[in-house]
């Protein structure tokens, strides 16, 4: 007979219920929260500006995994804003693949544990870098300018292999009358074995 006994000296014994289930109490720690404790959770943040005369699709932010470990993508936040026209609609798309990127503006990822010194082994570019290769759209959404940011909670459901890419794009409405700015940010972390 084996009974689980409290190790702190209270004498408490664990219960097994009538359905033969061991009664437990657990604290739920998200994978992202756990890896942040280890100093391995990062935030990527970038923007793209669509000028009044442009209507083509632009890359707001691209992440390429330069490391040897797979990366998981967490919550994605997207907003499109303008000062003069809050009625226009834009199209936001998310892509996965193994593309390469040049140009744009180099961004640094931010360690979400502000006391940690670890640096992510990734390439991050915003301001519409030039993309080479093929990637695959995983989400397309209309977005009305000037509304609350859009949150897409992937919660680690996207996994990027080495040299895998993840990018966010925006396309302005044809009749854009002023410059649009699209901001996006998302969390990422190395995949862990649990």
């Amino acid at each position: 007979m084996t009974v689980l006994k409290d190790g702190t000296g209270t004498g408490n014994l664990a219960k097994v219920g009538e359905h033969n289930d061991l009664h437990t109490r657990s604290i739920t720690v998200s994978e992202l929260s756990y890896v942040s404790e280890q100093g391995n959770a990062f935030q990527a943040e970038g923007e793209a500006v669509i000028l009044a005369t442009a209507s083509g699709e632009q890359t707001v932010l691209i992440l390429i995994n330069d490391g040897t470990e797979s990366l998981e993508i967490g919550n994605i936040f997207i907003s499109v804003r303008t000062e003069s026209d809050a009625t226009k609609i834009t199209v936001v798309k998310l892509y996965l693949g193994s593309v390469t990127a040049t140009g744009g503006t180099i961004k640094n990822s931010i360690n979400l544990n502000t006391g940690a010194v670890n640096v992510a082994d990734v390439t991050l570019l915003d301001h519409n870098p030039t993309i080479a290769g093929t990637d695959y759209m995983i989400m397309e959404s209309y977005f009305q300018i000037g509304q609350n940011s859009l949150t897409v909670p992937f919660d680690g459901g996207i996994v990027l292999q080495t040299k895998g890419s993840f990018r966010v794009t925006v396309k302005g409405a044809a009749a854009v009358t002023a410059g649009l700015t699209c901001d996006t940010s998302f969390q990422f972390w190395p995949e862990i074995e649990v």
Partner: protein, 183 residues
């Protein structure tokens, strides 16, 4: 040969391992935030709305605990005017200035006070690393919620602020966070 787990209350029940080799449990689960609240270590900081200027730091919270990290769980953000919002962590040490905001302990049975300084209309910080750059609509019916789930971790002296870029007449920001032992 494995062991059988018996009920400790004397009912005679034994724990099951099913056909897929899973141990049957009945788990009471709670989040880190709930656990921290039970310990009296979860807090809410909210500003009182005011007529704000462009680029104001509407609310900033700084961790002043030398033994515990502050973990930021969520932001609730609302304003009178459509604006870009910037959530950032200043990287230069500073003393916050502005309208004092007292953290409310989420566990009303606890008498603990937060080891933190919080200021509305904070005027002494310089934007450091930007954690989030987004937007809110003008006077939305619901606040914009950013759920970080305790992922943003602030050590001693470190802080997080919420800035509104465009001018407006009313602003409401709430930051929920909890303290955890430095691991």
């Amino acid at each position: 040969m494995g062991v059988t787990i018996d009920d400790g209350t004397g009912a005679g029940n034994v724990a099951i391992v099913d056909a897929t080799n899973l141990l049957g449990v009945r788990a009471v689960i709670e989040t880190e935030l709930v656990e921290a609240s039970e310990m009296g270590d979860a807090y809410s900081w909210s500003n009182v709305s005011y007529d704000y200027a462009a680029a104001d730091t509407i609310l900033l919270v700084q961790n002043t605990s030398v033994i515990q990290n502050m973990r930021i769980d969520s932001f609730y953000i609302q304003g009178s005017t459509a604006t870009e919002i910037v959530i950032h962590c200043p990287t230069v040490t500073f003393v916050p200035a502005g309208t004092a905001v007292t953290g409310t302990n989420m566990n009303r049975t606890s008498g603990k006070a937060a080891s933190a300084v919080a200021k509305a209309n904070e005027t002494n910080n310089t934007q450091g690393v930007v954690i989030f750059r987004g937007a809110i609509a003008a006077a939305p019916s619901d606040p914009y919620v950013i759920d970080l789930g305790g992922t943003l971790i602030l050590g001693y002296g470190q802080s997080v602020g919420v800035d509104f870029v465009s001018d407006g007449s009313a602003c409401r920001v709430t930051i929920i966070g909890h303290f955890s032992r430095v691991s």
